[in-house]
Amino acid sequence: MRSEDSLSKNIDWLTVLFYAVFVIAGWLNVFAAVYDADANQSIFDLSLNSGKQLMWIGTAIVLIIIILAIDYKFYSTFSYVIYGGIIFLLLITIFLGTEVKGSKSWFEIGSFRIQPAEFAKFATGLALASYLGRVNVKMEKLKTQLIAAGIILFPCLLILLQNETGTVLVFSAFVLVLYREGLSPWILIFGVVCVALFILTLIFHKVILLQVLGVLLALLIIYFAYQAISNWVNKKVNRAKRYITYSIISAASFMFAAGVVFSVDFFVYEILQEHQRKRILVLVNPDIDPLGAGYNVIQSKIAIGSGEFIGKGFLQGTQTKFDFVPEQSTDFIFCTIGEEHGWLGSSLLITLYVLFMMRLVHLAERQKDKFSRIFGYSVASIIFIHFMINIGMTIGIFPVIGIPLPFFSYGGSSLWSFTILLFIFLKLDAHRRQLLSH
């Protein structure tokens, strides 16, 4: 009894409340997404997604009880075992998996179907936390960076072989974790610059882009040269040398950026096939293929846009009626919120997510134990990447990558995987004082 007391006292109820709000709001919106005014449906109807989602929620609660009941030391002790088990599952899925919509990522046991890739996220988080959590491991060392990268990239490779590209992107979340643990910020900036250049190349012609970059470079070099000369004249030789170094770095960066632009251009227009190219180009202009690759984005923007300031009201969305937005209860669930609850509702939900993620970071920071902290950051980052890509794609600022909105989207595998992720962390957090005593 004592341990249960301490658990209920020590668990972070605020986070649990966030969880409950997201899950229940998600369930209501799943119902709204399938709702047909003429059909006299019940939200509990098991033939509807909403009824099934309620079942998933029920099983998730069982899952939570199990996770909280297991000893907190289990997760750190068995992290590599769990990781190894998931890797094994991923491997056999490649050979024995069932193909659904072109990706061979589902594993079938009888009538029960799971997607091991979903569970690879928390397993990788555990393994990474376990490795980086060792006392003698220093993030600055190249060896550490390589091993950490290996832990992250190995499951990525296996998931890539299952043709589940969306999930692989989620693993980029771990870059944030590594950054927090001491990885150079330049890698973060480098990644952002590459993505920005990629998108700019799609929008502008490469020649124009290079001209703009060239002018920027010229301005920078003129400035640096001016500084160098004036410092030289003032006998501040070291400073002058520094400015010369800067201009060399800018020139090198320019060469690099030009390389990225050319290779992206070549890749998109020469290597990709027509349908793949469309998939990427609709990102910058969905109208090039209004009933094809751009269809989802256009329809989802229309649905969201038609919600206006306060929305049409719960179950009042018209865009849902004709299934305009495909995958509406799973990947495009945000459309329902946008349409029925307007800008106010959408902004509230986004704010809630941001606050939730801030809370997770706060919890992670208060861990006295490196393992728990790293795992906490993993949880926050994975949820953040999902949040960013999922909502980003529904409003047309990310390409359509089919990944769910955490706790919200319809689907058992994703709800379970996020539940496991979150509650393992909450369990660790509840025992943070005991961990300190180690």
Binding site: L176, I302, E308, S346, T351, G392
Partner: protein
């Protein structure tokens, strides 16, 4: 340092949140166009099927045109039927048909409840008119106009080919990514060969339709709409009247007639008998009729002029005589007695004969000697090696006539026939184990030789041209600018010099004036011809004839092959001469011959005969 990293991460979270909220503000509050689009947001793509190109004959008569039909499309999500019985009677279908249509539709891989799916396909305009009034009572239907092929005649089916819905395999394997499910594509004949020219380009209109199904105009002012571009018309080389006459002559017979204009390689008539009415393979009865035709034991779908490979028989003696002269083993004056003790059998005729006479009387022993002298040229002391040298030289000259290779006609599935090779005999008999006596049945066009009727007609054209041919073809002009494929403007020379041809022509003239086809001569037209009677181990001999006319200014070269009909001079020759007369004079001066041909029925007389054409 570390605490600031926490701040950086939290800052990223907040930044993304703010970007989303601002972006949503623009989409939801500032920009009002989405509201309009949401109201009119049943976006419907109406495909504008292009008109497939028409095909005309050489005199401007229509061979193939389009008939509009209606595909009735249904969007299942919008469909509401309260009374199935009334619905079925309105659409004049049975309840079982209705259920099976719906079932099939839902099994379709591309099925979607929100996209229009075909409900009733290829309704004729009259059928559609009957149900049109009822459409208003049911939501979710709309008519999609398209066209199917029609023919104002019942001829030329094997050459024209047919179109049909693109198959799953074709859809998956297409290279250019043009076709969509439900598109029609040329499946055989000219429809397949000229698919790209005929099909045109599909257009599409994007319409906004409101929730009640009312059109609200085009999406983004139609800036993404594309117009359909009609396919290009083709002008065929076929003379429809001659074609129909040939088909009439070939009724109740199995075989082919191919007529070519020697000066151009244009095919004037292309008869495959028995054939079928091309109108059978259009419209809603396509599958049913196709199955019937396919199971017909006389194989009406089999394109005999291109695909039926036969031994050529005695008409091959013309090629032997030409090649023999080129090699130098025979001259116009070379004379042999009709000596059957050498081996080959013959029929009674004056003996000995010179080269012309050998053609006139189709003397077998003569060609035994010609071929023997080509094979044994005493270039090597070993008989077997000598045979190989002679045979290789002979084969090289023979294949320059287009034998043993696919003539690049503008139809699919053309067969090459077969001229045996040196290595073929090595495989059968062993290297240096065969000599002239082993292969001597080639001399009169028997043995392993296989030639398709098109190649036979082409040989007639080569002799008419004194040594060259244009690849036979069926289309002489494409589209507005009447362009002709370049490959049909190239002369192909055979490896026999022109000076060796006149004597052959004289011999062929004598075939008509006093030889094996004397009964088929025409008073005012000098025809050069050659008969053939092909031994057929499976039944009655095949009757063959090739010819061209007039001798001095050849306008038509022709090959006729009638299976299981007997002597070449009795059936194939008169049929050819009637065709020639019809084409050159447009009248028939010998109605008794025409009557004899028309009344002859080779099919129902001997229904059990196995046709050798199918091997």
């Amino acid at each position: 340092m570390i605490t600031s990293r926490k701040t950086v991460i939290q800052f990223i979270f907040i930044l993304v949140g703010i970007i989303f909220i601002v972006r949503l503000f623009f989409i939801q509050v500032v920009d009002s166009t989405y509201k309009f689009e949401a109201q009119n947001n049943v976006m419907r793509r109406v495909i504008e099927y292009p008109y497939r190109g028409l095909i005309y004959d050489r005199n401007g008569k229509l061979l193939v045109y389009n008939t509009p039909v209606i595909d009735l499309m249904v969007t299942m999500k919008e469909l509401k039927i309260s009374d199935t019985a009334k619905f079925c009677s309105d659409f004049s279908i049975t309840k079982e048909e209705f259920l099976s249509i719906i079932k099939k539709m839902k099994q379709d891989k591309g099925y979607s409840s929100v996209k229009p799916m075909p409900f009733l396909k290829q309704l004729s305009i009259t059928d559609f008119a009957k149900i049109q009034d009822h459409l208003i009572d049911y939501k979710g239907f709309y008519p999609q106009a398209r066209t199917i092929r029609s023919y104002p005649h019942t001829s030329l089916a094997n050459a024209l080919g047919y179109i049909g819905e693109i198959s799953k395999r074709q859809l998956e394997n297409q290279k250019e990514n043009y076709y969509l499910q439900g598109d029609y594509i040329g499946i055989s004949g000219l429809e397949a060969s000229y698919e790209k020219e005929l099909r045109g380009k599909r257009g599409a209109r994007y319409l906004m339709v409101n929730v009640k199904g009312v059109e609200k105009g085009s999406y983004k002012n139609g800036q993404y709409d594309t117009l359909s571009i009609p396919g290009e018309n083709l002008i065929s080389t076929i003379d429809l009247e001659l074609q129909q006459y040939g088909e009439k002559l070939m009724q109740n017979k199995v075989g082919s007639i191919v007529a070519i204009e020697p000066a151009t390689g244009e095919i004037l008539a292309f008869i495959s008998a028995p054939s079928y009415d091309p109108n059978l393979l259009t419209g809603r009865k396509f599958s049913e009729n196709y199955r019937k035709l396919e199971s017909d034991s006389l194989k009406p779908l089999f394109n005999r002029p291109l695909m039926a490979m036969y031994p050529p028989g005695s008409i091959f003696k013309l090629a032997q005589a030409l090649v023999g002269q080129q090699i130098g083993v025979v001259k116009p004056t070379t004379s042999y007695p009709c000596n059957q003790s050498w081996g080959p059998k013959c029929h009674p005729h004056p003996s000995p004969v010179d080269l012309k006479g050998s053609i006139q009387y189709s003397c077998n022993p003569y060609y035994y000697m010609v071929f023997k002298n080509m094979i044994y040229q005493n270039k090597h002391e070993n008989k077997f090696k000598d045979s190989e040298i002679g045979f290789d030289q002979w084969r090289d000259l023979i294949i320059s006539f287009g034998f043993g290779q696919k003539l690049a006609i503008d139809l699919p599935n053309v067969k090459s026939g077969y001229i045996p090779t040196n290595s073929f005999y090595d495989r059968i008999h062993g290297d240096l184990r065969w000599k002239h006596s082993t292969i001597r049945s080639l001399d009169i066009g028997q043995g392993e030789l296989l030639i398709v009727p098109l190649q036979m007609a082409n040989m007639a054209a080569i002799i008419a041209n004194k040594g060259y041919y244009y690849t036979p073809h069926l289309i002489k002009a494409i589209g507005e600018d009447k362009k002709v494929p370049a490959e049909y403007k190239t002369k192909h020379y055979v490896k026999v010099e022109p000076k060796y041809f006149p004597v052959i022509a004289d011999g062929m003239e004598m075939v008509m004036s006093g030889g094996t086809a004397a009964s088929s001569r025409i008073k005012d037209i000098v025809i050069c011809g050659k008969t053939g009677t092909v031994q057929n181990p499976h039944g009655e001999d095949h009757s063959v004839f090739i010819a061209y006319a007039p001798k001095d200014d050849p306008k038509i070269a022709i090959a006729t092959y009638v299976e299981n009909a007997g002597f070449g001079g009795v059936w194939a020759a008169p049929i050819s001469s009637l065709m020639i007369e019809k084409y050159l004079k447009d009248t028939i001066t010998r109605p008794h011959i025409e009557k004899r041909i028309l009344e002859k029925d080779f099919i129902n007389k001997k229904p059990k005969t196995v046709s050798s054409s199918t091997r």
